[in-house]
């Protein structure tokens, strides 16, 4: 007989006789791979779509010129168009405009309008040319026409020939829908107008958002870029397409990190599940392997056999997982619709793209985890001396051998160190590594911890009289914690990550709630739908509002977008009255603040958000230079405030300082504090009666708070779903391990039945074992999860989102989850134990070994 056919016999025999375990292992691999793969698919699909949507706006351009401010003077356009080396200079004015009759409190509720010169755009982004009615080509140049993408038409419920009313500052503008943008990306809400019409209609005369450049053939891009950057000076940014992709990547980074976090949960849970089922299946057969060794199978042959088995299982499970993952991703994208990162590109529907490389990668990951899960115990089995291994109960020693505490302790120490290290490429890579190490270390320590805890418990209970069941349970947990701990590995991983996410999300939510209270102190906020760079309220309107009756206090805000780094999304500049004596009264400051009395004289103070510190290295007390208005100015960083609204950075300054620097007296937002006794509705009604009342966006701060929290909850809803899936997988793992162990312990149960234990007692024993172990796992998982949440809150979040938050423990929620876990794990153990009381165990005592 060849060893190959021996392998085959063994494998088939094993699979035949233990098809449940094999099935569970397969499912474990499949689910682990599926979760990670589906998240990857969703992630890349969304990213590709955003990237493509963003690219479709700039077409075939080689380079793009932007200003540090969102808008700049059009005089740059003829200058650029005349430069040698530039084949086409395509001026673009881009505005997000509020549509009459549509809510516009969020950016994704606005209509993105691109103002183009069709003759230039035709050479760079022909897809943006509107398709007018036949014979009405001049509509493309008209001052009152707009072209809408199919998605925008659907969203706004208009068709060719209809009128569309949009807000332009305090006025409304009537536009005729002259046709469609038939080549816009599916789902992309977009409108195109003639650039001249747009400058006029939206009061943006002389302003451009960007100029796209196509270079002459043969022009060296790098040297041209160097030259032009020099020529343009510091006010402008010259970016290549690659830079723009980076910018898009930066924009959607937070969203992707959230998903990556979930992929981590999935992968970890899956890995532990696979590992535990594989390891248990090998341990269960330790005696069989020893026998094979006795019969003359070499170590290498044995290892090869275990590896082959793992290879089969891993390959089959991974293929299943890939298909499952693909299916999940497709369904998820259909269900989630535009909910993914929709604030960047409203309505865009990502499509799943099958990338063979990624599929191979995830296949490989699944295979590797399966192999690793089998190889460690297989090595042990192969290298064990066969004689002792033949003896019953020897599997126990295997597990004990692994639980040497040092690797685990080293993992934990490394985790601690990694939390102290800075981000890599602005991603909290090491934070995630620390989380992984914490999990690995924690789970590796689990057996030791279990043994220690239960021997302590046994010691304590020693004096008391104990029944047979409790003696058995405690003895097993004290003396054979290893196998039990393996079973718990999966659930520990998923539960601790769930706890971590719960603490993080709740801390975040509480912090946001608190923050909203601080940043929305007024009763009412009145805005005009912003269009471009203009503050909608001029002095005249400001006066009208300030003089309206019913208000104790009226504050004006001026908001503007600034580009400080072309590869990053814009930062926000907020100019507003800030309390001179105590800025803390106005801003949600952290402790890092210069007191107003020690501010240096003659230099304008600014208060920056945490993101500015991380992204632009602004430090309190430092002098920084950036453009406000048309020129560069020097400022001193006077403090740092928390900002959960603008992760790309924001700067606040006194409105008076801003107005002095720029001469721009317009404002975007008015904060209003009501007189005591004034009815909110009356006040709102009064505002509506103003001559420009209909263009006003009036929001109650209470509504804004509620809305913000609603958006928050919605964006984390996916998290909850995936967490639940992770826990279910964990429970499945517990079930699988318990049932595997129950089978392995058939002889033990047989003997116990012989010596007079009833079925009930055995079930109670199993449930108690499962319950106690789970309880301990929960406690341990909680500690682990809490530690992870600290890493999430104090390392991962600040590094990726650039904000800090206060720790908050949602006790009642955690308790109920813990209880649910306890009950379901005990039930799972119990269900797995049904085999333990079947008639087969009686015969098991006859089996030798």
């Amino acid at each position: 007989m060849t060893t190959a056919s021996l392998s085959r016999w063994l494998m088939l025999g094993e699979w035949r006789s233990h098809y449940t375990q094999v099935g569970v292992t397969l499912i474990a691999i499949a689910i682990g791979v599926a979760m990670a793969y589906s998240i990857h698919l969703i992630n890349t699909a969304a990213f590709n779509e955003f990237s493509a949507a963003s690219k479709s706006l700039s077409g075939q351009a080689d380079m793009q010129v932007r200003s540090r401010k969102s808008y700049f003077d059009e005089s740059l356009y003829p200058w650029l168009a005349k430069q040698k080396g530039i084949a086409v200079a395509n001026p673009v004015l881009e505005l997000d405009v509020a549509v009459v009759g549509q809510q516009s409190t969020r950016n994704d509720q606005k209509l993105k309008i691109l103002g183009i010169d069709m003759f230039r755009a035709a050479q760079i982004s022909p897809d943006l040319l509107g398709l007018p009615e036949q014979g009405k080509i001049l509509d493309r140049l008209a001052s009152d026409t707009i072209f809408l993408s199919p998605a925008a038409m659907e969203w706004l419920q208009v068709k060719q020939g209809d009128d569309l009313h949009v807000y332009a500052g305090l006025h409304t503008l009537r536009l005729r829908v002259a046709g469609g943008l038939v080549r816009a990306r599916a789902g992309q809400r977009l409108a195109v107008m003639d650039i001249g019409a747009m400058q006029w209609g939206f009061d943006q005369l002389g302003l451009l958002s960007r100029i796209e450049l196509k270079l002459q053939p043969g022009v060296n891009h790098a040297s041209f870029k160097t030259w032009l950057t020099e020529e343009l000076g510091a006010t402008y940014w010259l970016t290549e397409v690659a830079d723009q992709e980076l910018r898009v990547a930066n924009m959607s980074r937070a969203y992707r990190i959230n998903l990556n976090m979930l992929a981590l949960v999935a992968l970890f849970t899956g890995a532990f599940l696979v590992f535990s089922t594989q390891a248990l299946s090998v341990i269960r057969r330790r005696q069989q392997f020893a026998l094979l060794r006795v019969l003359g199978v070499t170590r290498a042959q044995l290892l090869r056999y275990v590896l082959t088995e793992g290879l089969f299982l891993g390959a089959l499970g991974s293929v299943l997982g890939l298909s499952l993952g693909y299916l999940i991703a497709v369904m998820a994208l259909q269900l989630l619709d535009g909910g993914l990162g929709s604030s960047f590109f409203p309505g865009v529907k990502p499509n799943i793209f099958f990338d063979p490389a990624a599929a191979v990668l995830f296949f490989g990951v699944g295979l590797c985890i399966t192999l690793i899960g089998g190889i460690v115990p297989a090595m042990e089995a192969a290298y064990a001396r066969p004689a002792p291994a033949l003896r019953a109960g020897s599997g126990q020693t295997v597990v004990e051998k692994w639980s040497s505490p040092w690797p685990a302790v080293i993992c934990l120490i490394a985790a601690l160190l990694f939390t102290q290290l800075p981000p890599i490429f602005e991603l909290p890579v090491l934070g995630y590594v620390a989380i992984a190490l914490l999990l690995i270390g924690g789970i590796a320590l689990m057996p030791r911890f279990t043994a220690g805890f239960f021997s302590l418990l046994t010691g304590r209970l020693h004096r008391c009289e104990m029944g047979a069941v409790s003696t058995l349970v405690l003895a097993r947990l004290t003396n054979a914690p290893g196998q039990a701990a393996i079973a718990l590995g999966g659930i520990l991983a998923s539960f601790s990550l769930m706890v971590a996410m719960a603490i993080m999300v709740m801390s975040f939510r509480v912090s946001i709630d608190h923050w909203l209270g601080q940043v929305l102190p007024a009763d009412l906020y009145v805005r005009v739908a912003t269009t471009g760079d203009q503050g909608g309220f001029q002095l005249k309107e400001q006066k009208v509002i300030a003089e309206s009756i019913g208000f104790d206090r009226v504050d004006f805000f001026r908001t503007q977008q600034l580009t400080l780094d072309a590869s990053r999304p814009d930062i926000t500049l907020l100019a507003r009255p800030i309390d001179h004596d105590d800025p803390r009264k106005t801003l949600p400051l952290t402790d890092d603040v210069i007191p107003p009395e020690s501010l240096p004289e003659g230099i304008i103070p600014i208060w920056v958000s945490e993101a500015m510190v991380d992204l632009y290295k602004f430090r309190v007390g430092e002098k920084v230079v950036f453009p406000v208005g048309t020129a560069f100015h020097e400022f001193v960083v006077a403090g740092i405030w928390r900002d959960y609204g603008r992760q790309f950075g924001a700067v606040q300054m006194q409105l008076t300082d801003y107005q002095r620097l720029t001469g721009d007296m317009s404002v975007n937002t008015v904060a209003l504090w009501l007189h005591d006794g004034m009815a909110m509705d009356t006040v709102i009604e009064n505002l509506r009666q103003l001559s420009f009342g209909s263009a006003l966006e009036i929001s109650r701060s209470s509504d804004m708070r509620a809305l913000s929290l609603k958006i928050f909850d919605r964006s984390f809803a996916v998290t909850y779903v995936l967490e639940t899936v992770a826990v279910i997988i964990g429970l499945l793992g517990v079930g699988a391990s318990f049932s595997a162990q129950t089978l392995a312990r058939a002889k033990e149960f047989g003997m116990l039945r012989h010596v007079g234990m009833t079925r009930k007692q055995i079930l109670i024993m199993l449930a108690a074992e499962g319950g106690l172990l789970t309880a301990l796992g929960i406690v341990f998982g909680f500690v682990l999860g809490w530690s992870i949440s600290l890493i999430l809150i104090f390392v991962v979040n600040p590094q990726s989102f650039h904000w800090t938050m206060q720790l908050y423990l949602p006790w009642s929620w955690l308790m109920s989850i813990a209880l649910m876990m306890l009950v379901s794990a005990s039930l799972t153990a119990l269900m797995a134990g049904r085999q333990a009381i079947s008639g087969q165990v009686m015969r098991a005592v006859k089996e030798d070994g």
């Binding site: 059009e74 356009y77 003829p78 168009a81 005349k82 001026p91 010169d117 003759f119 230039r120 035709a122 398709l131 036949q134 014979g135 009405k136 080509i137 001049l138 140049l141 008209a142 001052s143 003639d194 650039i195 001249g196 019409a197 400058q199 006029w200 005369l205 002389g206 053939p217």
Partner: protein, 371 residues
């Protein structure tokens, strides 16, 4: 305004090449419904005044400067060339203070007929007037579109430069004869109705010297050219289907211009010819004295259109035969402006005797494209 055609179905917006372009590119079917236009009509008994009329006339809808000619390279290889600058008033956006407001468009075509390539090389560009990037100035000929320009100096010399990725030309054109006013002292009728007309003058026998480059290889060239400058607001007759036009510098110093507007039924809607002899004496031919007869047709492999590339023209007692320099001189710009026409260098015989070289334009042989 009388000149505005109150006819609903105007398939062609205008008249001669420029109008055809507009027809394809900016078909203005609804303009007939617009009550008032700021644009001026073309009226008889208007005296052209130079040098002002060399420049642009913004009060008229359409205007073009059009130069065709034959060139000889220094190794005696003949080439044909065509340069056209259009100015088009959108008749829109006059209130818009934006510098981008599209009030006028500048369109330019350049083409080179080179027997070495066997076909016409051509390129076209369009821009809105503004930012000094594209303009047609008044006062004297001064038209620009990005780096393409045509400018006339006080001595009457023209400079033109148009470079494309494939080819380019940079030419100086010097007048050798006086300006030739077409029609009735520059009032040139285009149809049976008096308002179907344009202001039109030509400059035949311009002496050309300069550089033509093909695939970045420049060669010096010399030759002679014909310039047309025409402006109008009127539309082509509703019955018009296209036109055939020829302008030729004859070897003896004479200049011939003839055109016919073809009707939809294949007949002749209008025709005109003028022959100026070297002494400056002009002989005008009335529509019934001018007759175009196709001699040979060529089917375009690009558009399937069939063009009468060899043409017999009779102007009263004179027989002209036109033979194409190349068959494939079709200008197919469906990818950009959408116009398709045949614009080619031809040699002429007068009563069977070799007489000179000129340019033949054949339009309306492809059904207009719907964009």
């Amino acid at each position: 305004m009388k000149i505005m055609q109150k006819i609903g179905k105007l398939r062609y917006a205008k008249f001669l090449l420029a109008w055809l372009l507009m027809a394809a590119f900016l078909s203005i079917e609804t303009l007939a419904d617009e009550p008032v236009s700021r644009l001026k009509p073309v009226v008889p008994d208007h005296h052209l005044s130079f040098p002002a009329d060399y420049g642009a006339h913004h009060d008229f809808r359409i205007e073009w400067w059009y130069i065709t000619g034959w060139l000889d390279t220094d190794d005696d290889k003949p080439l044909g060339f065509q340069v056209t600058f259009f100015r088009y008033a959108t008749d829109q956006n006059h209130d818009n203070p934006s510098h981008f407001a599209a009030k006028y468009l500048i369109i330019a075509h350049v083409a080179l007929s080179d027997p070495a390539t066997g076909k016409l090389m051509h390129h076209e560009k369009t821009l809105r007037e503004g930012f000094d990037l594209a303009y047609a100035r008044s006062g004297n000929t001064d038209v620009k579109l990005d780096d393409w320009y045509l400018v006339r100096d006080d001595q009457g010399h023209y400079q033109v430069e148009m470079q494309t990725d494939e080819f380019g030309l940079k030419l100086s054109l010097a007048p050798t004869q006086a300006v030739m006013l077409q029609g009735d002292k520059g009032f040139s009728r285009k149809g049976p109705k008096p308002e179907q007309a344009s202001y039109y003058y030509s400059e035949p026998h311009l002496r050309v010297s300069g550089i033509v480059s093909r695939n970045n290889k420049p060669v010096t060239v010399n030759g002679s050219a014909w310039l047309d400058h025409e402006w109008s607001t009127a539309y082509l007759d509703s019955d018009a289907d296209g036109w055939d036009w020829v302008g030729a510098n004859l070897d003896d110093g004479s200049a011939l211009m003839a055109f016919q507007i073809r009707g939809k039924n294949g007949g002749k809607v209008w025709a005109y010819a003028a022959l100026r002899n070297p002494t400056g004496e002009v002989r005008f031919f009335s529509p019934d004295q001018v007759e175009f007869t196709p001699l040979r047709t060529w089917k375009s492999p690009h558009t399937e259109a069939v063009y009468p590339v060899a043409m017999h023209i009779r102007t009263e007692d004179i027989e002209w035969r036109l033979s194409p320099f190349l068959d494939d001189q079709e200008l197919d710009s469906r990818q950009s402006t959408g116009a398709v026409y045949w614009e080619g260098a031809v040699t002429l015989t007068r009563n069977q005797q070799p007489a000179g070289r000129g340019y033949l334009e054949l339009t309306g042989y492809v059904s207009p494209l719907t964009l």
